[in-house]
C-alpha cells in the first residue's frame, strides 16, 4: 500500500486524500451536522444563509445555564429535537451576532429571552430544511449508494467476465450477447425501467445502477481473463491438473485485481453520477431523503430566485466525481501500465 502511495503523482494523492476525507464526512455525518437534515419549518422557507450563530427565542421549558451562556451546538439525534426549539422567522433570518456580543445585550440574568443556536450557513430550502446539514448527509447517501451499486455490479460483472473469458466457446458467446444486450440500452433509460418495476426506494436505485454497470465490467474482465488463459503459468497449472475453480480463483483472479481496482474507482464516478441523475429525475430513493441529485431537482424550481439551492449540491456531485475520476486515471497508469491512456 505504501508502495502504491509512492507511485501516485500529487494529483492522485490529493484525490485519494480527498476521497478519504469525504468518507470520513459520510461516516461522521450525524456528528457534523448542526441541524437535523429532515427537520422542516415553514417559517424558514428559502431563508438566506445566516452567520455562524443565530439568536432564537428561548424555549419556555428549557433550563438555561445563565445569560450569554456559551451556545452548545445541537447535535440532532434523529427527530428528537423538541418542537419548541424551531427558531421563528425574524431571528432565523437575521444575521447572527457573535455570542460574545450577546452577553452584553442579554436582558435579565434570571431568564434570557433568547438562546443561541448554530446558524443556517448555506440557507434553507423550500421546506425550511438546513441546506448545509442536507449536503453533509448527502455525502453519506451518495457514497453509500455508489459503493453498494458498484459492489453489486462488480459481483455480477466479475463472475460473468471470468467465466466467459476463461472458458470461451459457447458460454463466452452467450454471455457476451447478454452483455451486448445490456450495453445496447441507453443506461439511464434502463435504470428508469428498473426503478419503474421495483418502485422507488434505496435498494431499487442500487439495483438499477448496478444492473447498468455490470456489463462494462464483464467485458473488461473478460478480455483480461482471455489474455491470462493463454499465459504460461496458467497452462502450467492446467498441465499439473489443477481444477478450473482453482485456476480461476488462485491464478486468474489475483492477476485481474489491479484491473478490478481501477474499474471500481472509475465505476464509483459513474455510479455516483447515475444516482444523481436518477434522483434529479425524481426516480431516486425517497425524495425526502437528502440526496444531492434530489436537492438539485428541488432547487431547480427555485433557480431564478435562489440559484445556490441547486448549484451547491450540484458542485458536491461534481467534486466527488472529479476525485474518483482523477484517482481512477492515476490508478490505471500506476497499476496497469500496459493500458496506459487507452479506453
Amino acid at each position: 500500500m505504501t508502495g502504491l502511495w509512492k507511485r501516485l503523482s500529487w494529483t492522485g494523492r490529493l484525490s485519494l486524500v480527498g476521497i478519504l476525507v469525504l468518507v470520513g464526512v459520510a461516516l461522521a455525518a450525524p456528528r457534523l451536522v448542526p441541524h437535523d437534515p429532515m427537520e422542516t419549518d415553514p417559517l424558514r422557507r428559502l431563508a438566506k444563509p445566516t452567520g455562524w450563530w443565530v439568536e432564537v427565542p428561548a424555549p419556555p421549558s428549557e433550563e438555561l445555564s445563565g445569560p450569554g451562556a456559551q451556545p452548545t451546538p445541537v447535535v440532532p439525534d434523529g427527530l428528537a429535537t423538541p418542537a419548541g426549539e424551531a427558531p421563528d422567522l425574524s431571528s432565523g433570518l437575521s444575521p447572527g451576532l457573535s455570542p460574545g456580543l450577546s452577553s452584553g445585550l442579554s436582558p435579565g440574568p434570571s431568564r434570557p429571552a433568547t438562546v443561541w443556536r448554530p446558524g443556517f450557513w448555506l440557507g434553507c430550502d423550500q421546506y425550511g430544511q438546513d441546506v448545509f446539514s442536507r449536503l453533509v448527509y448527502g455525502t453519506r447517501l451518495s457514497l453509500g449508494i455508489g459503493f453498494s451499486a458498484r459492489l453489486f455490479a462488480l459481483a455480477i460483472g466479475l463472475t460473468v467476465g471470468l467465466l466467459a473469458g476463461y472458458f470461451g466457446g459457447w458460454a463466452d458467446w452467450l454471455l457476451m450477447r447478454l452483455v451486448d444486450i445490456f450495453l445496447a440500452f441507453p443506461s439511464l433509460l434502463l435504470a428508469i425501467a428498473i426503478s419503474m418495476v421495483l418502485g422507488n426506494g434505496l435498494l431499487t436505485v442500487i439495483l438499477a445502477i448496478g444492473v447498468v454497470g455490470w456489463a462494462e465490467t464483464a467485458r473488461i474482465v473478460r478480455s483480461q481473463a482471455m489474455e491470462l488463459r493463454s499465459a504460461e503459468f496458467v497452462q502450467a497449472a492446467q498441465t499439473m491438473g489443477a481444477s478450473h475453480t482453482r485456476i480461476i480463483l488462485t491464478h486468474i483472479l489475483p492477476n485481474c485485481l489491479p484491473l478490478i481496482i481501477v474499474i471500481f474507482a472509475m465505476g464509483m464516478a459513474t455510479a455516483i453520477l447515475a444516482e444523481a441523475s436518477l434522483s434529479f429525475l425524481g426516480l431516486g430513493a425517497d425524495p425526502a431523503l437528502p440526496t444531492w441529485g434530489g436537492m438539485v431537482a428541488a432547487g431547480k424550481d427555485y433557480l431564478w430566485v435562489y440559484p445556490t439551492l441547486a448549484i451547491y449540491p450540484g458542485c458536491c456531485i461534481a467534486l466527488v466525481v472529479i476525485l474518483f475520476n482523477v484517482l481512477g486515471d492515476e490508478l490505471r497508469d500506476v497499476l496497469d501500465p500496459g493500458r496506459k491512456g487507452s479506453w
Binding site: 444486450i181 441507453p186 428508469i192 425501467a193 431547480k300 431564478w304
Partner: protein, 314 residues
C-alpha cells in the same frame, strides 16, 4: 465487405430479440393491472375483465409475447395510457427535436473534442495540454444537469444571450443551441482525452519519425499521417457517445423545455405512462443498435484488419 455487413447484421438479431424480451418482461412486471388502469378506478370487475380480454391480457405469457412481436412488426407500439394517442405517432412527432439536438451536440462535441485533443497532443506536457486535461476531467465529471442549470442561469437568464426555453422552437435551430452545447460538453471532454492519447500513441510510431526525418511539415504529419491512424478509437467514442446523448437528452430537454423525446419520456415517467416509456426505451435501443451497426461498417471500411479481428476474436 458485403459478407462482413451481412454477418454483422445477423449478429444484431439476438441482441434485438433480447432487447424486446427485456422490454416485454419489464412491462409485464410493472406493478398495477394495465386493464384496471385503462378502465379507470371505478370500473366494475366485468368491465375490467372485458378490457383485459380485449388487450389479450388473459392469454399465456409466450402467446402474449408473440402477439407483442407481431404488433411491433407492424409499427404498433401501443397507445399512451394518458392521452390514448398511438405511441409511435408521438415518437415520430417528437423525435425530430431530439435528432436536431443530437446532431448539433455531436457537432459541438466533435469539433471541441478534436481541437482540444490535437492541441493536447501537439503541446504535450505544456500549459495548453494541462489546461485541456483539466477541462476534460471537469467535463467528464460534472453532471450534465449542473452544466445545464448553470448555463441556463448565467447565459440565458443573466446575460440573455439565449432563450430560456426551447418549447416554442418550431423549425428554428437557435433555441436548441444552448441545450445542444450542454449535451455536447461531456462527450467533447471524453473525445478530447481519447484523441489526445491515441494521437500520442500514433506519434510514437516509426513511420512518423521517418516522415519527420524526411522533412514533412508538422501540420502535414499531424493531419495526413497521425490523425488518420487515430481515427478508429475516435469513431468508437462517437458511437458510445450516442448512448450518452440519448441519456442526456432526458435531462437536457427537461431543463431547457425542449419538446423532444427525452422530455416526453420524462413526462411519461411522472405520469407512470408505461406504454410510452416502453416505446421510448425500445426506440432508443433500436437506434443505438442500428447506429452501432453502421459504425462497425465504417470501421471495417476504414481498416480492413478490423473485419478479420472481429470474427477472429468474437
Amino acid at each position: 465487405m458485403a459478407e462482413f455487413a451481412l454477418r454483422r447484421l445477423l449478429g444484431t438479431v439476438p441482441v434485438i430479440l433480447g432487447i424486446l424480451a427485456i422490454a416485454f418482461v419489464v412491462l409485464y412486471l410493472v406493478p398495477g393491472d394495465p386493464a384496471q388502469t385503462v378502465a379507470g378506478p371505478r370500473a366494475s370487475p366485468e368491465a375490467i375483465a372485458r378490457i383485459a380480454a380485449e388487450m389479450g391480457l388473459d392469454r399465456p405469457l409466450p402467446e402474449r409475447f408473440l402477439g407483442y412481436l407481431r404488433r411491433l412488426a407492424t409499427g404498433d407500439l401501443g397507445r399512451s395510457a394518458v392521452s390514448e394517442k398511438p405511441v409511435a405517432d408521438s415518437i415520430v412527432e417528437k423525435f425530430p427535436y431530439t435528432l436536431k439536438l443530437t446532431v448539433m451536440a455531436m457537432a459541438f462535441s466533435i469539433s471541441l473534442g478534436l481541437l482540444a485533443g490535437i492541441l493536447g497532443a501537439m503541446y504535450r506536457g505544456g500549459v495548453v495540454d494541462r489546461l485541456c486535461t483539466v477541462l476534460s476531467v471537469a467535463g467528464i465529471s460534472i453532471p450534465i444537469f449542473l452544466f445545464g442549470l448553470v448555463f441556463l442561469y448565467l447565459l440565458a437568464g443573466k446575460l440573455k444571450w439565449f432563450p430560456t426555453s426551447a418549447y416554442m422552437a418550431g423549425d428554428s435551430w437557435w433555441p436548441l443551441v444552448l441545450p445542444a452545447f450542454t449535451l455536447g460538453v461531456r462527450s467533447a471532454a471524453f473525445l478530447a482525452r481519447i484523441v489526445r492519447s491515441s494521437l500520442i500513441e500514433v506519434l510514437n510510431h516509426d513511420f512518423i519519425r521517418t516522415a519527420r526525418a524526411k522533412g514533412v511539415p508538422a501540420s502535414r504529419i499531424l493531419f495526413r499521417h497521425a490523425l488518420v491512424n487515430a481515427l478508429i478509437p475516435i469513431i468508437t467514442v462517437i458511437g458510445l457517445d450516442l448512448s450518452s446523448f440519448l441519456n442526456g437528452s432526458v435531462i437536457v430537454e427537461t431543463i431547457f423545455d425542449v419538446p423532444g423525446l427525452g422530455r416526453f419520456a420524462m413526462e411519461a415517467i411522472l405520469q407512470r405512462d408505461y406504454p410510452v416509456i416502453q416505446g421510448i426505451v425500445l426506440f432508443s435501443a433500436f437506434v443505438f443498435v442500428f447506429v452501432n451497426f453502421l459504425l462497425d461498417l465504417v470501421y471495417a471500411w476504414i481498416n480492413p484488419r478490423v473485419r478479420d479481428e472481429m470474427f477472429g476474436k468474437a
